[in-house]
């Protein structure tokens, strides 16, 4: 994962968030997504291969291997997903997407009849923009 990220970092701006959609950034975003898919997929496959861990020994604190191995995947999964959040934040597919979300007015389609969604509302939009900025900071 590290080597791929280094390769990508060379293709993007210093902060990893290019302002212009460049070919290199697109490649980085795609690679990041492939890595995420592989890592998350591996987690599911590991648990699906029940035959590899349906054993009694070695025990840990009295728990048979089968039980504590399943439990082990919970923290492993959480840490992996945290890394994925970080990776996807560093290589957004569309660096302009946040700005786009904040400025684009809602497109009233047949399925969008309510007309009262917060994102149609300028005041809420401004608020949202502030929150998005906060989102960026607290990461």
């Amino acid at each position: 994962m590290t080597s791929a990220r280094d390769t990508m970092a060379t293709n993007s701006n210093s902060d990893g968030r290019a302002r212009e959609p460049q070919a290199g950034v697109r490649g980085g975003a795609l690679a990041a997504r492939i890595i995420v898919a592989a890592v998350l997929g591996a987690q599911i496959v590991a648990l699906l291969l029940v035959g590899t861990y349906a054993r009694r020994d070695p025990r840990l604190g009295g728990l048979p291997f089968f039980y504590w191995y399943t439990l082990l995947w919970l923290p492993v999964g959480a840490i992996t997903m945290a890394a994925c959040v970080w990776l996807l934040g560093r290589f957004p597919a569309h660096p302009d997407q946040r700005a786009a979300q904040a400025t684009r007015p809602g497109r009233p389609g047949p399925a969008c009849r309510l007309g009262e969604h917060p994102h149609h509302d300028r005041a809420v939009l401004a608020e949202q923009r502030g929150r998005d900025a906060a989102d960026g900071q607290d990461r």
Partner: protein, 567 residues
Amino acid sequence: MSALEAGSAPAVATATKVTAAAVAAADAQPGATFHGEQFAVFAVLFAVVAVVGFWASRWRRGGKELNSLDEWGLGGRRFGGFVAWFLIGGDVFTAYTFVAVPGAMYASGAVSGWYAVAYTTMMWPIFFVVMPRLWDVSRRHGYVTPADLVRGRYGSQTLALAVAVTGVVATMPYIALQLVGMQAVLEVMGVGAGATSGFVRDLPVIVAFGVLAVCTYTAGLRAPALLAFVKDFLIYLVVAVAIVVLPHRFGGFGHIFDAAQHKFDTANAAAVAAGRKPNATLIPGSKDLLAYATLALGSAMALFLYPHSITGVLSTRSRNVVRRNAVVLPLYAVLLAFIALLGYVAIAAGVHTTNPRLAIPLLFDHEFPAWFAGVAFAAIAVGALVPAAIMSIAAANLFTRTIYVGYLRRDASAAEQTRVSKVASLLVKFGALVFVLGLDTQNSINLQLLGGVWMLQTFPAVVLGLWRPRLHRYALLTGWAVGMLYGTVQAYHQHSLVAKHFGGALAVVPGLGRTGYIALTAFTLNLAIAVAGTLLLRALRVPNGQDLTVAPTRQSPRPADPTRGWT
């Protein structure tokens, strides 16, 4: 937590004997006397919850009236990570889960109980990939339910109706089962033990649900969001105490697992002697591997398709909240794992019951001082209310958006939609109440089992609809219909000791000769038909519906971008 209960249903069914008998058994064991101190603590905590629920309509209102579905049904789509964590965790891990999973562990071990921990572990990576994308599309186009999404993506009213009906029908028995969880607790406290009429006996459940109905009617999704804090504080407290104190009291986990092994060996030997198949497993053997894996995968895929999971996700304020939540939500799975292990603790503690649902309440009753048992029971009862409220809101939104607006009143205003949804949520809850109190509990369990099978059949339309290539609407509809039919028929033909039909979630997978989760077999069939049908219909140039989600915009001239869904 859907198919999980579906999976544990056979175990529940097996040991329940006939439900009437189970009630009698419960009376004979714990309910003979009324536990005043427990009930007093329980009642005080419940009153606090009611006050919080009524106050919820003022919470985070932001000056807006609750007269749009976004406000009433999605809490204004403004929940941040903290609230969302409690809300999503609160509706995915329900009271019935907290009663049924350890109950299944108590009765038959890993394949019907522990797989729940495996599937809640597997679920988050899937959640991580699917839900931010779902949030994104729904926010951009103002979708409130998964059926809205399907209608927009495939331009098909019929497919949306299929998804909506599946969601409503699968959710209803789920709400009913929350009441079953609450009843288990009240039974152990001996509430209504001396009552001669059924009405007096069920009065606490009726009162609790009445309070819930009024809170939800006025405050919408804000009520369960706020109650989820109370519920989770109580549940984490109880489980933390239980998992620290109890295993130590019974000689540590080594001894507890030995006791479970001993009980299962005895039960299996008795089953074989009686000419039945042994069904208790501490560690899955080679014949159970496929069953265990398919139950885990199928349940993980079905769980977040339930309307109430999607409602929780759509109420958040940003896609990043959804994604970051996937990182911290596994903490609930740790909680579930501890609760599941309490099923084995109950065995070591010598709890004897023919109704596995009572195993955990009885364990608390025996091992905790009365006041703390009261806290534990309040935790379970409040744990029933939160998901029930979210489920009823989700089902009501599905009805309003797809059936009412789609077929009855096409020009319904936002305020009218909200009014209809509010009334529908009341009717859904009332229906669940009548169902539980009026009919045999086994019916709820049967329907719940089917609910997991049905829900998974909407996976191709909803989840695959988020990415390209777009499948054909007629192919999806055919696949859905075949999957539903196959799953229902297969489930109908399963019989167990106590149930002539719907006796279990497992059936022999054609071609493999081993048993697997019916839902996943039906899903495979469904998907194969959807893909093959799409290819065929494209070759025949049958027009697909208009896709309303890909209108080009200034910022992203290429909406078909395959990487877009990942951001």
